[in-house]
């Protein structure tokens, strides 16, 4: 039996060796009209390199930086995303593969799985963050601190153990992050689809997320695929209407028509010479196709294929229909355009013209999740996570939350009482000051007829140590997005491929089964911030206290009472006129009738008593000092 298996593996190995013995680069671009008059453009670049054991160390296409990164830190899988803006789960959808894998929280998100012994994972992670921050001109190195990253046990991805996850919600994303990302492409943005990336137009969009996904099996005993680098850029742009229909120009229902040149201000002058394939796709969602068919049939009585009704300037090379659609009535359609035959004298410019108004809605995520702060006041607070069912969640079974908290001491007693039997599994690692963030993972099994549920977490707003405050402390503290995954929901878009010979990594990605992920908003918690001129006040007060303390201590130590009294006596004897006047004034000050200096009583009797008093005083001061030291230190 063992021999059989061995042979099988060998065969498999040989097979794969045969298939992927070359480096590969493919570029693809997907457009999808969105219901709120915007257009989603999704660039997808994929570079592959065969395993080192087979292929060696020298590469033609694959970026060397990434190759070295993988080898140095023994990365199994890694994802880094830079995002600006928020994904609108309500109107842009949250169920299909594109939105569920490309909707990312604002700022930087990084997770990585390492192929190292568990005790070295943290070191690898720290080194990785530094390398990436240099590579992408971003402050990813802030993820090095143990309070900013976490190791979710089972919720984030089923494969874990060596997984580390961290996010920086406040990171600003701009072209300085895009340029190094483009440098990883063999053609950069000089030719091919990436030449469309006109900076002003992509950064003026509503959502912008650049992602880098890395998978490698280099360190497996039997390496099959090598390293696969997947780079995607997802942009949501509001197109300026090209040429509106006169009849519907006032109506807000008519979608704006657009073309590649109107979206990006550029056209494609042929494919990247190094790319194996270069394709542009237009995806129409099931709801849209259904509604379009419905309305347009009603109006025009046209029974033909939809292709003819969606007028392109260039005709699509192929069309793929979705099978096993989630949407019962409509099926999603994918139009493919190959740009292999275009060149600079004949640029490729895809146009999309709407003739009649149509409305539809995207397939939403099973739950609409929002997170917000509760209550008022500066002492305590609470975070509420409200889950609301959408129309697609009839068959909902299981939701899975992973909430990350920083800097807040939180309680979770409230939850178990209110949610009782819904919780299936829960693990909480409370935050420890300066050591780790609070992480709460829980699996909820919600009943199908649930309308809405909410989780509340109470926390204490504590004062931080002065050096733990960020530079702009008065802004408040960001709590990174919570991640919701639905393990029981698998999303995939299965397309009936008309031409099996064309292998598109993006389409095959869409066909993969994957769990749905969604993120909540980033939360801003205003904490009480001290007035930062306070250290000065503290220094002043402390100095005063110390001065008083040492002053009285020295005074008590220095004073020799007997001697002083002798001195006084001798002074009294030689009372001059000036002294008389002075003593009169002092007496006036004291509000007592002035007594002419008389012979004081013999002080010998009191001297012993006073000395014991002095000793008592010293003991008291010493006790205070001791107590101070003891309780303060």
């Amino acid at each position: 039996m063992a021999r059989c298996l061995f042979i099988l593996i060998i065969i498999l190995l040989l097979f794969t060796l045969h298939v992927s013995s070359e480096e590969e680069f493919t570029e693809e671009l997907l457009f999808r009209p969105l219901p709120d008059r915007k257009v989603l453009s999704h660039f997808h670049f994929e570079s592959k390199v065969p395993p080192t054991t087979v292929y060696g160390h020298h590469h033609r296409l694959f970026p060397k930086a990434i190759y070295q990164l993988v080898h140095k830190y023994r990365i199994k899988e890694m994802e880094l995303s830079f995002t600006q803006g928020r994904w609108n789960y309500d109107s842009w959808g949250g169920f299909d593969p594109i939105s569920s894998s490309n909707a990312k929280p604002p700022g930087v998100e990084l997770w990585a799985v390492f192929d190292v012994p568990p005790d070295q994972v943290d070191t690898s992670w720290k080194n990785l963050t530094h390398t990436l921050s240099g590579l992408f001109c971003a402050s990813i190195n802030f993820l090095e601190s143990s309070t900013t990253y976490s190791a979710p046990d089972w919720s984030f991805r089923s494969l874990s153990g060596n997984l580390r996850y961290g996010s920086l919600p406040r990171e600003a994303v701009c072209t300085e992050n895009l340029t190094p990302w483009l440098k990883l492409l063999p053609c950069r943005d000089k030719s091919g689809l990436s030449s469309l990336m006109n900076r002003p137009s992509i950064y003026s969009g509503f959502y912008h997320s650049q992602r880098l996904h890395l998978t490698s099996d280099e360190f497996d005993p039997v390496a099959l695929h090598g390293i696969v680098l997947e780079q995607t850029l997802t942009i949501v742009i509001q197109p300026d209407a090209l040429e509106t229909h006169a009849a519907f120009s006032s109506s807000r229902k008519l979608q704006p028509s657009w073309s590649m040149s109107s979206l990006f201000g550029k056209t494609v002058d042929g494919k990247c010479a190094l790319a194996k394939s270069s394709n542009v796709y237009v995806q129409l969602e099931g709801g849209l196709v259904y509604n379009m068919k419905d309305t347009w049939n009603n109006i025009e009585g046209n029974d033909g294929e939809i292709v003819q009704e969606v007028p392109y300037e260039v005709s699509p090379d192929r069309m793929m229909k979705e099978i096993n659609s989630f949407h019962k009535d409509g099926y999603s359609i994918l139009y493919g355009f190959s740009i292999n035959n275009y060149h600079s004298s004949k640029p490729f410019d895809l146009g999309f013209w709407w003739k009649l108004p149509v409305t539809w809605s995207c397939v939403k995520a099973p739950l609409r999740v929002s997170r917000f702060l509760m209550g008022s006041g500066n002492e305590k607070g609470a975070i509420a996570l409200s889950l609301q069912s959408t129309e697609w969640s009839q068959s909902l079974l299981k939701a899975d939350n992973n909430i990350e908290k920083c800097n807040l001491r939180m309680y979770v007693d409230g939850i178990s009482q209110s949610l009782g039997d819904i919780i299936e599994k829960m693990s909480v690692s409370p935050s420890e000051d300066k050591v780790s963030p609070g992480v709460m993972e829980m699996v909820l099994r919600l009943p199908c007829d649930m309308k809405s549920a909410s989780l509340t977490l109470e926390f204490d707003k504590g004062f931080l140590h002065i050096d733990e405050y960020p530079p702009d402390a008065n802004q408040g503290f960001d709590i990174p997005s919570a991640i919701i995954s639905y393990p029981d929901f698998q999303t995939r878009l299965q397309y009936k491929l008309d031409n099996a010979s064309i292998k598109s990594p993006m389409v095959s990605k869409m066909q993969e089964r994957r769990t749905i992920l969604s993120y909540t908003e980033v939360l801003l918690v205003p904490l009480t911030t001290p007035d930062f001129s306070m250290p000065y006040n503290v220094i002043t007060i402390t100095c005063t206290v110390f001065a008083l303390y040492f002053g009285s201590l020295l005074n008590a130590l220095r004073r020799r009472v007997g001697e002083e009294e002798r001195l006084l006596k001798s002074k009294d004897k030689s009372t001059g006129k000036l002294q008389l006047l002075l003593s009169k004034m002092f007496a006036k000050l004291r509000g007592k009738p002035w007594e002419p200096p008389s012979t004081p009583p013999p002080p010998s009797s009191s001297s012993k008593f006073i000395s014991s008093k002095v000793i008592l005083k010293i003991i008291l001061i010493a006790a205070i000092a001791f107590g101070w030291q003891y309780y303060d230190g």
Partner: protein
Amino acid sequence: MTSTPETEAQKPKHRPIIRIGIFIIAHSFIVSVVCCTAGVLALLLLPVLAKKTYVSENALMPGSAIPMISEQDVSGANKFINELTSLKLKSQRTGIEIPRLIALHMANLGGEVSYHKFQNQPNKFHPLHFFTSTELEANHVNQTCESYATNTVGIIRAPRGDGKEAIVLVTPYNPVNFSQNEALSLGIAYSVFSLLNQVTWLAKDIIWLAADSRYGQYNSVAAWLKDYHTPSFGGFGKLHGVGCHNGNDVPESNLDMIIETEVSDTLRRAGTMAAALVIKVAKTGEAGDQDALNIYAEASNGQMPNLDLINVVSYLAVHGQGLRVQVDKLVSFLDSKWLKFIGGVLETVGNIARTLNPQWKFGIPVKEYVEGSATLVSSLYNQALGVPTGSHGAFRDYQVDAITIEISPKLFSTSKGRQTELLFRGGRLVEGVIRSVNNLLEKFHQSFFLYLLTSSNKFVSVGVYMIAFLLLVAPLPVLAASLFSDANKSNLESEKNKPFKSWRWLYPTKTVFLVHLWGAIVSLLPYFIYQIPDSQPTSRLLIWASLSLFILIVLGSFFRVRSTQWALLKSVTVSAAFIGLCLMSVINFATAEIGALLLVPMCLMIKPWRVAGKFQSALNLVLVIIGFPGATFFVVKSAFGFQNESSLVEFWYWVESLWAWNSATYIYICMVHLPCWVLCIYILLHQC
């Protein structure tokens, strides 16, 4: 004074600081007179000492951008106003129609719309939840469709923002009695909302709350804020709740269907609030030749928004839109003779000082002084009352800086051109403020939170106005100490043989404690009076007064208040007043200031009529009469020429408003002022 040389010599020599203390206590009379006079003088000097305001936070940069509101936005707003007014004429059921129309327009502009339904929560007196948020028991009795009010909430998501923060615009309107000025304020918000939907510079989300103020402007905003900060389980959704469908409803048009699909069925939220702006248009026109802008800022218990917010608004209004900014002032103060006289004196002093040294510039013109003090008094009064001056007060409970801006046009005319101009002005102002707040990376923290305004661009900060209060309060402990030591000394011979002679202060303390306990009971009484059904305000007031008196007598006879030395009693009373005033100054400074003005002279002067001379007794009597809270109320009312129809009823309503708004002033009056007043009377009538 009779200490023998032996005792003095045996006493250890005092430190200088103690000697100074003894000296001050020995001359307590002069100290009291000097301090009190200085305190009152310092208060009168405050308008002179006021500083010019300045925008402290650099990030705000008010007025650095050109206003972008266009003809299109304003014409849209005009259309919107016309639709609103025509709806009012056409339909009777404006209570439902107006929110629907607003929602439709919000959605058309591209905002995310949701309704927020709430019920009137009658203000009840909760004696045990005074400072805590009252956990309002849901009274689900009698829930008819009409009893619901509907706020309409529109949210613009900042295109590239991360949605952590939001700026709130509030336009209160009353759908039952809809008026033109409310339509105008809605129009201003509409024009801003229309603009902000297109701009790309937004970093914070914008929430437009069209607050249904049929149950009061404050209540609608407070209800929305409460629900914004608590998890909700649906039920805000559609305009017609379950079971609220009228059979013979107006046929739902196609338009309605669209709205119903666009309006989300849950309350939408948008991050932590950075600031809030309540926009109003005044009903009555302004007499001057300029449009005016009134700013209201006082929230509950004298809390103020950050001064920077007021600065930005007034800067933009004055320099950007040419509006005359004014803060609420006491009109009757403007032509008071004595204030003019003081102003004149101060002006001449200032002029003389300037002739001596041109560097000294502290004199201000008489007119400015009078206006400044009128504003200052109104500012002090509003803060002291502890009742918010508008719906912005609800935001302060959630640590959100908020103010109300009320635009009062110079002469209200419905002419189209005038309305358009007003929309432009208001829209540009609001846009500028939003743009400034939008620039802000941190929350408001740079400028002052504790201040009094003497005009829209002048303020007195806490460091200055504290001096007046401290000077007023300072004589109290001195007097207490001096009375105590005198009493001790005078009794030294007579009670030399008695044991525990140093514990004699316990008896007056017991009396003072009992009276303060009585004060606490009096403050709780209204809760029980409310249990009596169907009673008139006057009868309630009388019941309250008689019950209090009865309890006082019962307490006095039950615990058999021992007749003690009046000096000791006065000493303890004065110390109690001092502690009470100092505690109150932490909670609400303005109350403590006004309280000190009333209480300190009374406490200092009071003496048994047998001991005091005739003149002093008469003065004491006057002070005691004025010192009674009710009497103070009437005196102030009549002095400043407010009309008082049925004064008792008015007083009852005044007190009712205090506890309804959870004002700490109520507690102060019942637990500090009233007991002190009773004790003063007790001392006045003391049998020596």
